[in-house]
Amino acid sequence: MKAITETGVPGSPPRTTSKWSRFWRIAFRNRYLYLMSLPFVAWVFLFNYYPLWGWLMAFQRFKPGKSIWEQKWVGFDQFKTLFQDDMFYQVLRNTLAMSVMGLVATFVVPIVFAIMMNEMKGMFFKRFVQTVSYLPHFVSWAVVTSIVTRMLSTDNGVVNDILMGLGFIHEPIQFMAKGNLFWGIVTVSDVWKETGWNAIIYLAAIAGIGPELYEAAKVDGASRLRQIWHITIPGIRTTIIILLIMQIGHLVSIGFEKQFLLGNNLVRDYSDVLDLYSLRYGLQMSRYSFGVAVNIFTSVVSLLLLFTANGIFKRFTKESVI
């Protein structure tokens, strides 16, 4: 602190122009900026970086009440237990299944939606559709769960009503109680909630495509479908790839909100995902070390996926997303 004031005071210019004195001089000039950023950097450190120390617990048999240095070290025992647990593989399967289904669906549907919106002519109808399409993004998963269970209910749920009305089924399907339907229900709920929102970025990307391309295509007699295929889709390709890579980084860390809320004891075999597993079999059973091992697995696999995806992208485009 002393050094800053000494070298930086206006009127007493530093004699040396060494790297350090230059640094402190600029630092003094930046003092307000430092004051405005360092407290928040410390904040981010506390809540985002500091907990990483907790990863050490995965190599211990953690007992609450003692500090992390007084715990018993057990090496990779927790990971051995984890990889020998049959339930872990079931949970991993559920996580991957739901994230891949979600990834594909929440990519394809919003792109199709954005292209359709772009082709729409009536301005009023367009605005209305768009406003409605954002709506579900803003409601919580608790609300979505309430709505989804109502729609899929066996008592006057609209989906069962329609299926029965059309004669596809003769008695209501117990959607929420069927494990093999769970992945689909989560995916469809996700699409219902996020399509309009995810489409915003694609709509913006489409709006950035030069109109002269379409003009030229029109002159050449290309139908609108051909214009979509040869101009619109290539025009938003980069956006698609960037978002795809960022999503791939989150393949295993998909959270658990949907699964927690939409799932129930009857579909547990299909609904439990990695984070729920660490919650139920780690935290809530006071097996902290085991839970942390699950968390580490999730984080490390996420990073590996992200770097792999980014590496592939880099090879093709010489650009990096991260």
Partner: protein, 302 residues
């Protein structure tokens, strides 16, 4: 092949495309909107009548009873109060901290710029996970406090980057002239940059507010046993869990059980769902033009 190309109007394939698009978007709109309207209608319909089925988007036997019942439930009053409070406090704290940090990152002459950017960006991809964070919160004695709602998630890298991208677009000359007039960096941020960054701030305010309003998990994890800190979403979540198939009602709030006796749980659920959703419906159409812009900004800089 040749016949329609000669015609003056759009080719047949284009007209078919228009038709398909309109139908598809209509279907999408109905699918999005119908569930809300259906739940709304059910929440205003007499509980015993609803069981007969056949309610679509209008109530058949209109009643306020379901709402009267949920308002008599004490958890909901507390939940409403805490939800509103955390939304207000969380949004203000988040806005101030993210915009201040964003401003320093938008200053080309700030030394720490690159380091802080990277430092933040890493948090978007690396997370310590559920349990280490839980233990941190416990060690900080934040369990059972209001602070746990607003402090840990105060700064999100994504929000900071969105505001930063917007501020990057504000001409630097404006700040330089203020500097010549003797303004310090904080004054420049507060007096010049913040007012100009309103569109970005509105977007982030919306994101923050919606996140605060919609979260139930922190209540579940940290404040599950503090009834005075319950939130609306948590109350809704408890009702959902208690009535969902296969869960043997671990919802032991006697107050709520009494309430459930007068009208059916399903009607209560519908009324709470609407009650929890309404504030969002009131706010978001007005902010639409902002968040569309904000989303696009965030995507550019990622």
């Amino acid at each position: 092949m040749t016949t329609y190309r000669m015609r003056k109007g759009a080719p047949l394939s284009d007209r078919i495309l228009d038709f398909v698009i309109i139908v598809a978007l209509l279907v999408a709109t109905v699918v999005t909107l119908y569930p809300f309207l259906n739940v709304l209608a059910l929440s205003f319909n007499d509980s015993t009548d609803s069981v007969r089925g056949g309610i679509s988007i209008f109530p058949r036997e209109f009643t306020w009873e379901n709402y009267k019942v949920i308002f008599s439930f004490s958890g909901l009053a507390t939940g409403f109060k805490i939800s509103v409070l955390r939304t207000l406090v969380g949004t203000v704290l988040g806005l101030i901290s993210s915009s201040m940090l964003a401003y320093t990152l938008a200053r080309p002459d700030f030394q720490g710029r690159r380091f802080v950017s990277t430092f933040l960006a890493i948090t978007m991809y690396v997370s310590a996970g559920l349990i280490p964070i839980y233990i941190l919160i416990k060690d900080l004695h934040m369990m059972g406090t209001f602070a746990v709602y607003v402090l840990p998630g105060m700064i999100s890298a994504f929000n900071v980057f969105v505001i930063r991208s917007f501020m990057d677009g504000i001409p630097y000359a404006l700040q330089e002239s203020a500097k010549i007039d003797g303004a310090n960096d904080f004054t420049i941020y507060w007096r010049i940059i913040l007012p100009m960054a309103k569109p970005a701030l509105a977007t982030i305010a919306l994101f923050l507010a919606v996140t605060q309003w919609n979260t139930w998990f922190d209540t579940y994890l940290y404040n599950g046993s503090s009834d005075h800190l319950t939130t609306l979403q948590y109350e809704l979540m408890k009702v959902l869990q208690s009535t969902s198939s296969g869960n043997n009602g671990d919802y032991r709030n006697s107050n709520m059980t009494q309430v459930m006796a007068t009208v059916s749980p399903e009607s209560v659920k519908m009324a709470i769902t609407i009650f929890v959703t309404i504030p969002i419906l009131l706010v978001y159409p007005f902010l639409q033009r902002y968040f569309v812009k904000g989303m696009t900004l965030g995507a550019v800089k990622g």
